[in-house]
């Protein structure tokens, strides 16, 4: 096998391979961010693609007859493709698992087994399934589906056999290895047989997935789905329904899977406990992702490859109508396939309070994925490229949002420290009044870590995303009707304005919020001379304690006014008020201060009760009153601060 052949085989695998490596790199992020969890989810689809692309690409480009007519035996072709696949998958898996070991992300045994076995089984079974369905999409779906089915079945069988609590690691691993290796061996043999006997009938392209499969529809439905000579819009809808057939089939299978799981869980509560449950949930999430992305990109992708898209652009129907019908049907397919089944069926597994959150996250996620996949399908040519672009596009927009979230307050800080416009109290007052709107209250709720905050954060992100989403939808229409040069650069060029808009929205909202917040702080400081002192003290403490290691009640941090002055320039009036006070900062937790704030007050108005620990700081003043401050230990933001009458309360532990 010479260098050119190696290059030709390895080329389509390059980007997915890089993607898996990036995902592994994300695991190494410290502190563990949600991106780490994403990378876990990205590993399985990543190696799935790596395993199916070698053969899938031949079908996509219709080059299989060309390959099979070259002067090399089928055994050689088989060996070449398998070895490239194996090298790619195993190196990626090696990197991934080493990163996993090194990182601080927790995974259970079952997850690790699932992923490791997946690497081996995918390499062995993907060629067969891809050859069977004659397309990449079909290969991906069946490889993943059958493997998961066997995995879950094995897990359940072992559970019923041994009982979960008595399930010892060696037995589990031994039995599952036996099952998986056996399956892998069988698939390897079947795949080789399939290639040996492969006949290039008809159009050896991706059409076959759309026509393959049994015609199981009842005749009445078939009758309705036939196109009529009148009623163009209905015909377009019928055509969409037919094009989305793979999505309907996969959704049905997934729904069946969910139903089985729910039944098992209802029958025996502990069946899905622990790590096995994590695997199941993970698989469920991956399935939902795949269905949503497929629903968005399948119809337009297949039409672009087969040429019927160009045909439709020459018909006397407005492109806007066609585009709208496609988008609408994609959303319908996405919601019904990826959203409904888990919600209706598996929703029973969750408790009622979590239900609302999970439902919202699910629906929002499905909508976002479908629209992103649709946008990608408009921007590139073909289903598989569209699917491959969907996640990078989403990650790009998400990163833009996060960048804006960081840049907004940073810029405001910079601006305020340079220009200090709030020394004019009237201006500060006017600005602070702008904060009395629902949007800012939403941001407040989202950032204060209460039970509502998750929901509020979601709603906030959704609202900030709206302009970018609208732009994406409009842009997809423009991309729909243009005949594109399929190049990475053109997609990036289309993506850029989208990312910029997301960045600007996030940046503007948070910068403004920060701006108004600081104005409000200044107003409060101006009203009460002690207020300014409190503000400066709080800022100083925030700067100091951010760099400090963990505190607790037994090891409080003692600071003097000089330490504060070093961290933050204190004004003369503040120094006078503070005098020679000793500031104590320590870890507090419920129910010691079941509320937090001044001990004389009950629950301070407007502050939610915390369910976890926080840093408490008390600053005794020269006139006998004291300040209190509370910081969030994880984000270092101020939860609340105030002025209390009387002496500070005694510490939980006496300071030596």
């Amino acid at each position: 096998m010479n260098a050119q052949r190696i290059y030709k085989e390895a080329r389509p695998l390059f980007w997915p391979w890089c993607a898996v490596l990036c995902a592994s790199a994300l695991l190494l992020l410290h502190p563990p961010s949600p991106l780490g969890e994403i990378s876990l989810l990205a590993f399985v689809p990543g190696i799935l693609l790596l395993a199916t692309l070698p053969f899938g690409n031949e079908f996509q480009n219709r080059t299989l007859p060309l390959l099979l007519s070259q002067p090399s035996s089928r055994m050689q072709i088989w060996r070449e493709k398998l070895s490239i696949t194996a090298i790619a998958v195993f190196t990626a898996a090696l990197v991934f698992f080493s990163c996993l070991k090194v990182s601080s992300v927790h995974t259970g045994r079952a997850v690790a087994v699932y992923a490791a076995a997946a690497a081996i089984v995918f390499v062995a079974s993907a060629p067969f399934w891809t050859l069977f369905t004659r397309s990449t999409v079909g290969g991906v779906v069946l490889t993943f589906g059958v493997y998961t089915f066997i995995f879950v079945l094995t897990g359940q069988a072992l559970f019923w056999e041994r009982g979960y609590s008595k399930l010892s690691a060696p037995t589990f691993i031994a039995t599952s290895s036996f099952v998986f290796l056996g399956y892998a061996g069988l698939m390897l043999w079947l795949g080789w047989r399939k290639l040996k006997r492969f006949q290039a009938i008809g159009d050896v392209g991706g059409d076959d997935l759309l026509t393959a499969g049994p015609d199981v529809l009842p005749t009445a439905l078939v009758g309705w789905l036939r196109c009529r000579p009148t009623g163009a819009v209905l015909n377009l809808i019928r055509k969409e329904i037919r094009l989305l057939r793979p999505v309907w089939l996969i959704s049905l299978l997934a729904a069946a899977g969910w139903a089985c799981l729910t039944l098992t869980a209802l029958v025996h509560r502990r069946a899905l406990a622990g790590n096995f449950g994590v695997v199941v949930v993970g698989v469920g999430v991956i399935t939902t992702l795949m269905i949503a992305i497929l629903a968005g990109s399948l119809s337009l992708g297949e039409e672009k490859t087969s040429g019927t898209h160009s045909l439709h652009l020459t018909l006397p129907v407005s492109a806007r109508r066609q585009w709208f019908i496609k988008l609408f049907m994609a959303l319908v397919a996405g919601f019904s396939g990826a959203g409904l089944a888990p919600l209706l069926i598996a929703g029973r597994l969750m408790g009622p309070e979590e239900d609302m959150n999970v439902q919202m996250v699910l629906l929002a996620g499905v909508a976002l994925l479908t629209i992103a996949a649709f946008w990608c399908a408009c921007a590139v040519k073909g289903t598989v490229p569209a699917v491959l672009w969907a996640l990078p596009v989403i990650i790009a927009v998400y990163s833009a949002l996060r960048l804006g979230k960081w840049a907004g307050p940073a810029l405001t800080n910079l601006f305020l420290s340079r220009f200090d416009p709030f020394s004019n109290v009237k201006f500060a007052d006017a600005v602070s009044r702008l904060g009395a709107n629902a949007f800012f209250r939403l941001i407040d709720t989202a950032s204060n870590n209460s039970t509502d905050s998750v929901q509020a954060a979601l709603v906030l992100r959704a609202i900030i995303l709206v302009p970018a989403l609208l732009y994406a939808v409009v842009q997809s229409y423009r991309l729909f009707r243009v005949q594109l040069q399929d190049r990475v650069l053109s997609v990036v060029r289309s993506l850029l304005p989208l990312a910029v808009i997301a960045f600007l929205c996030s940046f503007a909202s948070l910068a403004f919020y920060d701006f108004v917040g600081r104005a409000a702080q200044e107003v409060m400081a101006a009203r009460d001379p002690r207020g300014r002192a409190l503000l400066e003290t709080v800022l100083a403490l925030q700067t100091i304690h951010t760099g400090v290691a963990k505190l607790d009640a037994a090891h409080p941090l003692q600071l003097t006014v000089e330490d504060l002055a070093q961290a933050f320039p204190l004004s003369k009036s503040t120094r006078r008020l503070l005098g020679n006070s000793h500031i104590t900062l320590f870890l507090d937790e419920p129910p010691h201060h079941a509320h937090f704030g001044c001990p004389q007050n009950g629950q301070p108005v407007g502050l939610p009760a915390l369910g976890y620990s926080w840093y408490s700081g008390t600053i005794p003043l020269a006139d006998g009153t004291h300040f209190f401050v509370a910081f969030d230990p994880a984000t270092h933001y101020v939860i609340s601060a105030g002025i209390c009458a009387g002496q500070p309360p005694p510490l939980p532990v006496q300071v030596p």
């Binding site: 036939r226 209905l234 015909n235 006397p316």
Partner: protein, 297 residues
Amino acid sequence: MKSPTVPIQIDNLTYAYGRQEAVHNLSLTVEPGRCYGLFGRNGAGKTTTIKCLLNLLRPQSGQARVFGLDPAKREVEVKRLLSYVPDQVAFYPWMSVRETLDYLASFRAHWNRQTEQELLERFQLDPAQRTGNLSKGQRTQVALVAAVCPETDLLVLDEPTSGLDPIVRREFIEAVIGAYQQGVPGGRTILVSTHLISEFEGLIDEFTLIARGRSVLTLEADQARERYQKIRARFAQPPPEIDLKAALRVRRDGRELELIANGSGPELMQRLRAHHPDELTTESLTLEEIFVATLKP
């Protein structure tokens, strides 16, 4: 339905793919009722021009008008007034012929069922057959049926017969003549873009030759055949140098001389006769030979 304006009017059309100019300052007019040929080598810009008419591409400068309408602004109306047979015919493989025709009929206000029936019989197409199982020629025939039945005033054919066997090619042209050209002579207009010129020789009234995006020659077919002549002369001895600069091409072979003349036929004949050839014949060039003579480097 007659329109007062010309079916196709293209003025100074320019289109570039990136930096590569595909069409440069192209102008042509198609009068109603004519069959207009767009000839050129592969990659000359024929398909690009047609795509500009259908608003599949937006020209960088110049304009294209279909029945006086701008395809970019009045897109749906323009598409209603014409029907199109593309070079790569693509249908949904799971739809039968019947269903495909029904589907395409739903976009048209008018559809002649009788013509459809006749054409299906003539082409011997089974309506229940799935389009995915048809051969390339049969798919082109279905595309032609779908283009003829709406009975539009303009038919645009883009390389319709490339890749088809000779019998299917003939049937295609006969169907265009028979089924499409109906009614008042000025009613139906055809624009054909092709490089298989010999097939369409009899059909073309007027043509434009395009090379590298530029229009090289625009003539009526009869005029062209009159003007371009191939003159053969045979002498007793190899002739001395004759002033043949007026000829388009000259080929010498010992005592024989073959010239291709572009309008200067009589003059060249006179000059040759002055040298007393043994034999002197003249015949006209077919459109395909004109194509080769003009465009061959």
